[in-house]
Symmetry: D2
Subunit: 344 residues, 4 copies
């Protein structure tokens, strides 16, 4: 069964809506290696493009897909930086606009305390990405893409919140598939009810929903708290979802399909540099597989492999691999650990 039927005659494979930001990670390269330590004691940082939907845009673009981005960036050199980076990666930036009231690009400073413990310090007050407004959403652009991915962070505040909902309404109107990546970031949200309200507005319309168990709990707070994974999946299948992916961190993740099947995957074993960045690799790989028409379990495996490759790296964007590298990584891992290493 094809869980994700698309209109093939469209220019863009996927357009992504949400934040593009800058990650400042403790320097860790050939010249400088900042040890694991509290953020306040780090002296040197490396600058990378960041932000979940931005990373996925880079990821799928490196897999040969045609991506576009709907976003708002600062009217300064940091805005130039991320836009030029997207251009270089072949991501369409025609729908990235500049802030006019001095809002700045989001910044994420990463603290790496160990390979598994890391925290972030975010600059997200009066921030560029959340200034995206309904006037920035063009129906023709959405009509011209097979699917749109909405990052849940875009829902945290007005006017970006309404821009995201408008994009989903126009996607619906124009038969553009909707992928909802819940992507919860505590910052900017005012209270848990608000989270449930806005997540569920998008989730009800989405064809694919991806999130952790915690993220589904946040979404379902005002609908029916305490649902198990199967119940959650069934609930959203009852609306528009054909695939519901629920993640449980190191315990693996499961994709539930609207025909009652489920497919599970575990992480590949790797030495991690950091405890984050895997999710966007997972998303890029999984979506790539779907577009190839692969079996769902193969999509998941590909995503899981790409996730493993990313947690080894000091960046969440710049080291995203091409498909050959992911295939090679899977091959290598299977040779080392057996064919079923990531499968359940």
């Amino acid at each position: 069964m094809n869980y994700f039927e698309m209109d093939k005659n469209r220019e863009f494979d996927l357009i992504l809506l949400g934040r593009v930001a800058i990650d400042f990670n403790p320097a860790y390269n050939d010249q400088v290696k900042e040890d694991f330590k509290p953020l306040k004691d780090v002296h040197m940082f490396e600058k990378y493009v960041g932000g979940s939907p931005a990373n996925i845009a880079v990821g799928i673009s490196r897999h040969g897909m045609k991506a576009g981005f709907i976003g708002k960036v600062s009217d300064d050199q940091f805005g130039d930086y991320v836009t030029e980076y997207f251009d270089k990666e072949g991501i369409d930036t025609s729908q990235i606009t500049r802030c006019v009231n001095g809002e700045k690009l989001g910044l994420t400073f990463t603290e790496m305390l160990s390979s598994s413990e890391s925290h972030i310090l975010m600059y997200r007050n009066c921030i560029a990405d959340l200034q995206l407004s309904v006037d920035d959403i063009q129906e023709d652009y959405i009509k011209n893409s097979k699917a749109i991915l909405i990052s849940g962070t875009a829902l945290a505040e007005s006017p970006s919140r309404e821009a995201a909902i408008k994009a989903v309404m126009l996607a619906k109107k124009n038969n553009t598939r909707i992928i909802f990546d819940i992507d919860y970031r505590e910052y900017n949200w005012k209270n848990p009810d608000e989270i449930s309200i806005y997540y569920s507005i998008i989730a009800k319309e989405a064809d694919i929903i991806m999130g952790s168990r915690e993220e589904f709990d946040l979404t379902e707070k005002l609908i029916k708290p305490g649902m198990k994974d199967e119940e959650s999946a069934a609930y959203w299948h009852g609306h528009n979802a054909t695939i519901v992916v629920i993640k449980h961190g190191m315990k693996g993740s499961t994709a539930y399909t609207c025909d009652g099947q489920q497919f599970s995957i575990k992480p590949f074993p790797v030495d991690a540099r950091k405890g984050f960045g895997g999710g966007d690799g997972y998303g890029s790989g999984f979506i790539y597989g779907l577009y190839q028409g692969w079996e769902l379990i193969d999509c998941l495996e590909f995503g899981s492999a790409e996730a493993a490759m990313m947690v080894k790296s000091n960046s969440s964007s710049d080291t995203l691999p091409g498909p050959e590298e992911v295939h090679a990584f899977i091959k290598e891992e299977k040779e080392l650990y057996g064919e079923m290493i990531a499968r359940v």
Copy 2:
């Protein structure tokens, strides 16, 4: 067919969510009569409780129904005034809370230029009713009512916007019927897309939707602009609505039911004092009829009669009639003009 099945074992017939405000109308009573004139030239004003859902609360309460109100009022004597008025009318005020940051009650100054031309000057900046927040919404209260009426004005701004959506989600969860009175007021809305977004969120969940053609157009802007009444009705029947009432001012209004029927009514002929206030009488009467289990055409006639009675009055709340008075009015009109005076 029963278009509006309710759980009879609930304390409240209807709870209403939205604004309660104060109307200042040019004085027109036994002592003083301000002629039709520009607002700036009016010297004496009469003070009345106002705001669409507040008026409907008064209206149905005078018809013997048990009403409750979810709202936010100023922490001053104007807040006392409206709350005490509700108490006196038998409306439950346990869910009316006070503003804590000095926000004031909405004010509406009315300009009456002729019996058909009137304008309003609204005070709605930093206003009390729009401070209603998700924390003010109690699930038990909603669970305890047969139905909830949402006034669309409550959607114009945060945090009231989210409070209203939460109330609807909890109504859904608890099998409480939802009436959506679109009640468009230009004030506070930022752009037309926003209107379509939030109106449609509620409209999709509502059992009954009531609004003018213009209000349905606003709602449907991002869904499918330009729908005719029948198409609109069919669209919302495709979601959760069983009754869709579309009004065309002096040309009358039509109720469309989910089983494909439609029922139309015209205004009763009266000498109007003012061109507004009829809608809330209409709502009160129509809802009253529904709760009595009347045929839909009788509900409409009753609503239309109550509307006619209200445009003759200088207030939109204080002169709302009891059911006997409405019946008497209908009887009288029919004797004067014939049985079918308001029917099509």
Copy 3:
């Protein structure tokens, strides 16, 4: 000694900067008489132009002085109302501009509990008068007036605060006399330190300072709290003030001059309708006297008489008298109670 030397060759006698608002007073006229009662129970109101500097503008204009007003009003019929009222009174309105972001004119609803006890309920959130900005202040206008009166309420918030300070700086630069009417209104101020900061900035530059003991205490909080009247006067004489008027309500008031003299006055005995509105009459009368070159004690007596006339009235603007009426009132009172009735 002339305590208030002015450049006689200027078009305007006095320009006033600050709020113009609308008073809604319980109706009390030939047709309707609302008894003393809580505000919430009042049904009919009369609308008047209000706001301290607006009242003084009307007052001095009726005394034949050429007044101008620097202010910001709403872009609606209430804005029209006050502007047209000023025009009619002969007050120059060329420097009254309209709000562009929907801010509304301030409203004051008066509660009259007895002839001596009254309260006000103010609408002053997002309010028109406090939107006055530095761009509204024209040097030529200030240069063209003998003096400028600053109402302290204009200092409560930005951008009006900076507009007022700019006006004072330009007055200083152009040798325009400065009258500071402290006019404390609790509303809009954030904390007592802020009050002391901004009041003292203006007080330091003012030629005449008028206020109650409480208002001087607020001004001096961060300078030297607890000063007696004589100390306060001496402190401000040490800056730029030639006359310092300190009021003690029903106990009377005293003017301290920079040459060490002091002149005291008491209220005239009257049956008051309300406990406010006297201050602006006092200001109008006192300033009028100064411009006539009268002895200070005569200025005070004239102001005190005008104050007495105003507390008898239901309005604070519309019933402001001309000079003949004040003279007549003084004559009448003296005949009744003796020549020294108001003098100490």
Copy 4:
């Protein structure tokens, strides 16, 4: 003549009020050297404590003076970083408080295009330092210091603006000397009139005013635009200033004293790494000299030397020298270029 008489019996030599922030400079050290290039192309950054008054606090502390700091920092690891840095430098941090509404520490990303051309990209929206409020200003602390330095940036927004003015009023009340370092940063200011208003409020009270010609022009806009240096100096001497220092960049600077003297200094010739950071070295050195009771020309020379040392460095704080190093630098420069190298 002693231009800066202080009460010697006080615990602190100088307390500084204003911003402490973080500088992210392109990495330039033994391990990594980012060449001169546009900011967007810089990959590695070094993190330093920054902000003009923070740098001066570090500078004078390294010269053995007892410094305290009045400021507001973020409640996160960046707030920890700057506070711990101050602690380590011996600067009293008892008056540094934390933000409670999630405001973040200011960030300054530096672009170095050549040794003379550099730009900055500032994060100063919803920023920690400007949240300093009147409640953070303790009279006892100010009473306990010989002098207070106000950085003009603290005046750019409320509530910091009022906190700074309160500190100056309390300094006046308690005979604490006032140094006004104009320190103009375009960010956060709304219009030129506002700058003139608030700069002049402080300048009128200050014993020492330090700024560039451009900064004095900004200050004097509403007072008397277009003044020459001598006129400016005379104007401020007419208020409370005993020393007025006016800087002309590479052309040198001049100190004007209230007894009509003037003393000029030129920059020492050095190979600069960057075109900024010199000013705070200048301030530290000049103030140190004053506290030693040196002749004014010697204070200026010491400041100019410290400025020269700082523009050679990649940081504006971490490399601030002790007095021996400055003396050594002066000696060395004079040996190379002659005794009068910096003197006019």
